[in-house]
């Protein structure tokens, strides 16, 4: 499979991942279930880009509903570069085939992909970019972000797509955001020990190198302990799976999307269509999500996870009260070989420990130079400033 599942304009410079709608262009979200689905309207972010004069190149391949590591669960096949998994959008940006790409960060896939490809991806503060037109899975944490070759380009595109949208009830009120880049000298960055310890040596080396660059720029880097990384991971997995179960229940074979060829009654239509239409990881997520929402487990799982979300937010914000940003790995390995799909649920869960904190708290995060930065709400500009400064060191 190529990078694009649907090409729109060969001279276009922006790629859009296939969970984001463009009017009249099929949107599959990497799933057989939506192989034949063509949306009637475009996402707000896409409209804003087009209105500002950017042309869309096409729709990039994504893992089924964006749930996986790096796009390997797409119905259209994984993207591999010499046997190594790579995100389609990140690869296009790295090769310079597009200026930037819009990607939905639901469980860290585009953040991870950018970190592995050595390009930038910013997941902005939750609520600053409209989710209108995103094939939804986990509404409480998913967010459109920008994959770009450098911080300056990420800032340019983010400035266009961010701002209040009345069509999204969770959209924050500010009409525009000023991502003013600032001098990083004198800033303080917290390196999260618990996450650092979970990474491979190759990743640790990358983090050490990044920390050294920061110090060269006059930034203080300190080891900080954050004792809720596992709780954040589990809670996000529960919330994300529950919301995904609910959102994907609309794909039932009745109205659009895949429908089984033969069925005897409505129940069989549901069961056969969904069994044929969804891949393994999606099914596993749906089953897990149904379980945590069931009457007998709601309090112990879903409700508890919402309370953990509050505690995690408080603890991370406490760190960010003393530090301008957090530094952490974006994933455990420096590269991922294709893996057996039957391992996927466990693999994705293991890796989500690195990406869960921004997902569950809605805080802005950025993958840059193979590492991950996290800042306080509305401090997206701090992430861009740090990323740009480090990028400038090597220029």
């Amino acid at each position: 499979m190529g990078y694009f599942v649907n090409s729109i304009n060969p001279s276009g410079k922006i790629a859009v991942d296939d969970t984001i709608l463009i009017k009249g262009t099929p949107a599959t979200a990497g799933s057989k279930m939506l192989e034949n689905f063509t949306p009637l309207f475009s996402a707000e972010a896409v409209e804003r880009l087009e209105k500002a004069g950017y042309e869309i190149a096409g729709k990039t391949n994504v893992g089924e509903f964006g749930l996986d590591l790096l796009g390997e669960t797409s119905f259209f096949g994984a993207n591999e570069e010499d046997g190594v998994l790579a995100g389609a959008a990140a690869s296009l940006v790295k090769k310079g085939e597009v200026k930037a790409a819009l990607s939905v960060d639901l469980n860290g896939a585009p953040r991870r992909a950018a970190a592995l490809a050595g390009v930038d991806f910013i997941k902005p503060t939750y609520g600053t970019v409209s989710r209108y037109g995103v094939i939804a899975c986990a509404c409480s944490g998913e967010q459109i972000g920008v994959t770009a070759p450098d911080a300056e380009t990420a800032k340019e595109i983010l400035s266009v797509i961010a701002g209040h949208d009345s069509k999204d009830g969770t959209s924050l009120p500010a009409e525009k955001y000023d991502y003013a880049l600032t001098d990083v000298k004198g800033m303080k960055v917290a390196l999260i020990k618990e996450l650092y310890d979970l990474a491979s040596d190759a990743v640790k080396t990358g983090i050490d190198k990044y920390a050294a660059s920061l110090k060269a720029l006059g930034v203080t880097v300190e080891d900080v302990s954050l004792d809720i990384v596992k709780e954040a991971q589990t809670a996000w997995q529960i919330l994300m799976s529950a919301e995904t179960t609910n959102n994907l229940s609309r794909f039932d074979g009745v109205k659009y999307g895949h429908r089984a060829a033969e069925y005897k009654n409505i129940d069989e239509l549901y069961v056969k269509s969904r069994t044929e239409g969804f891949g393994f990881l999606t099914k596993a997520t749906i089953i897990y999500g149904s379980d945590v929402l069931s009457k007998s487990k709601y309090d112990a799982c879903y409700d508890k996870s919402m309370r953990i979300r509050r505690v995690v937010t408080e603890k991370v914000k406490a760190v960010l009260a003393s530090y301008d940003a957090i530094l952490a790995p974006a994933c455990s390995q420096a590269e991922y070989k294709a893996y057996d799909v039957l391992d996927s649920f466990e693999k994705v869960f293991e890796e989500s420990v690195f990406t869960a904190i921004p997902s569950i708290t809605g805080l802005p995060a950025m993958a840059t130079k193979g590492v991950q930065l996290i800042a306080d709400s509305y401090k997206d500009n701090v992430l861009l400033s740090i990323a740009k400064s480090v990028e400038g060191l090597e220029a």
Partner: protein, 469 residues
């Protein structure tokens, strides 16, 4: 042993909003053809996000005020999941954790019915079964139309109480402009059990789903009472908690398939809808916009001198009471207006098979004014009113064209009387010999001659004078 019924109601009512609960499609009264009132949001397409209809929130709060509820100023929406083709997203947005109104009550006669809660939710679509092709078709026009569900406490003790409550609910909701309560727009789930009189414990409960006709509700309750008492007294069956449906052809309830009732709805808060905070200012604004309730209205009418029974009829129907208020505001006497509306207008409505009163208040006021000031006779007034109902005629013009005005020159009346007396010597002779009926015949002749325009009292007086000369 004597048994008593214990009944609780869940009543679903469609709100009179211009648009649906979470999108801008037209509300309950808009659609004409199937699926002509749908958008990507209300037919469950991916990518759409819900945006809450503020008017629906206000109407639900109004319902809460009307039913003496506590308004939850922090209220949230939750998702209820189940698969059915009439539910396009396979979840219904409802209020499970923080309903908008709680702990209210309604007085019916000398009894008080507790209201547990009122919550907002979206309606489902409609399935149409086509026997010819053995397929089912879905119509999403009704999908996402806002509903309130009014949940009573198990406080009813008879079918009659249930019916009284529903009638009262309907007139109150119509009155406050909360719901039109059209045919089928008010649906009930009836929870019913039976227990020995005096017992505090509840019996085994059956829930009869989705009832809308009052007479069917009454029949279903009576049927269930017999079924439950038979089971307890004569062990005809073992009662189980279950969901049942009323079969209007077979005149009995049947259990629904277990599968439809054993669902786990997996409720959770909708992350796309922020909690709604109704601040004090907004709450007061809604309170200020409340119209008088039917009861307050009825009381107001009796204070105007309208007999209680008539006042209640006027107050029970929004159109009747609005017309009454408008005509009275135009200066007509309340008693007179009540009689014209309840007798003459309703007579015309019955004759012409009209469901709601829809008359220009100014025209009705003019007719009453003409009659009350003896400009025209009451029969003439009725004649104009019929013409207004039939073809919306202009009152004054119609009276003139049809010679209904009473104020005819008295000398014309006198000459007519004298002429008729002169032309009918036989009748005069009959009268003089004691046959008083002859006078009535002469009176009729004069009226015909004057085409009903003369004041009957004047005519009668002049005729008597002439005959007794």
């Amino acid at each position: 042993m004597k048994y008593e019924l214990v009944i609780g109601l869940e009543t679903h009512v469609e709100l009179s909003t211009a648009s649906k609960l979470f999108c801008s499609c037209g509300g309950h009264s808009s659609p004409k053809e199937p699926n002509d009132c749908v958008c990507p949001a209300c037919c469950g397409m991916p990518g759409m996000l819900p945006v809450t209809n503020k008017h629906a929130i206000e109407l639900a709060v109004k319902a809460g005020f009307m039913l003496n509820c506590k308004i939850n100023q922090y209220t949230t929406f939750d998702k209820k999941s189940y698969y059915y083709p009439d539910l396009p997203a396979s979840y219904q947005t409802t209020q499970w954790f923080n309903p908008i109104c709680v702990d209210g009550s309604v007085e019916i006669g000398d009894r008080t019915i507790g209201i547990k809660q009122i919550h907002l939710e979206e309606d489902a679509g409609k399935l149409v079964h086509d026997d010819a092709t053995n397929t089912s078709l879905v119509d999403y026009n009704r999908t996402s139309v806002p509903l309130i569900e009014i949940v009573s406490r198990p406080d009813f003790r008879s079918a009659d109480e249930v019916i009284t409550y529903l009638k009262k609910l309907k007139s109150s909701l119509q009155f406050a402009g909360i719901s039109e309560c059209e045919e089928g727009a008010m649906r009930c789930d009836v929870n019913i059990s039976v227990r020995p009189e005096g017992s505090e414990e509840f019996g085994v409960r059956a829930e009869i789903k989705n009832m809308s006709s009052l007479s069917e509700i009454k029949d279903a309750i009576e049927f269930e009472k017999v079924r439950h008492v038979d089971a307890l007294e004569r062990h005809t069956e073992v009662l189980v908690q279950e969901t049942r449906r009323w079969d209007d052809v077979k005149r009995r309830t049947f259990p629904m398939r277990n599968k439809e009732t054993a669902a786990d709805y997996r409720y959770f808060p909708d992350p796309n809808l922020m909690p709604i905070v109704i601040d004090d200012a907004w709450l007061e604004e809604i309170r200020a916009s409340m119209p008088a309730t039917a009861e307050e209205q009825s009381l107001r009418y009796t204070e105007m001198g309208i007999p209680e029974k008539e006042a209640m009829v006027l107050a029970s129907d929004r159109k009747l009471s609005d017309t009454f208020d408008e005509v009275v505001a135009l200066g007509r006497a309340p008693k007179s207006v009540a009689s014209w509306i309840l007798t003459e207008c309703m007579g015309n409505m019955k004759r012409l098979e009209i469901d709601e009163l829809n008359i220009d208040a100014a025209k009705l006021a003019r007719i009453i004014e003409l009659v009350d000031t003896n400009e025209i006779t009451r029969p003439a007034g009725k004649k104009v009113l019929s013409a207004v109902f039939e073809s919306d005629v202009d009152v004054d013009k119609y009276c003139e064209e049809n010679g209904l005005n009473v104020k005819v020159d008295e000398s014309l009346i006198l000459t007519t009387v004298q002429r008729i007396v002169a032309e009918n010597p036989d009748a005069v002779a009959n009268y003089k010999s004691g046959k008083t009926k002859a006078m009535q015949a002469l009176f009729g002749l004069i009226m015909r001659e004057l085409k009903g325009t003369g004041d009957p009292v004047v005519i009668r007086t002049l005729l008597e004078q002439e005959l007794n000369k």
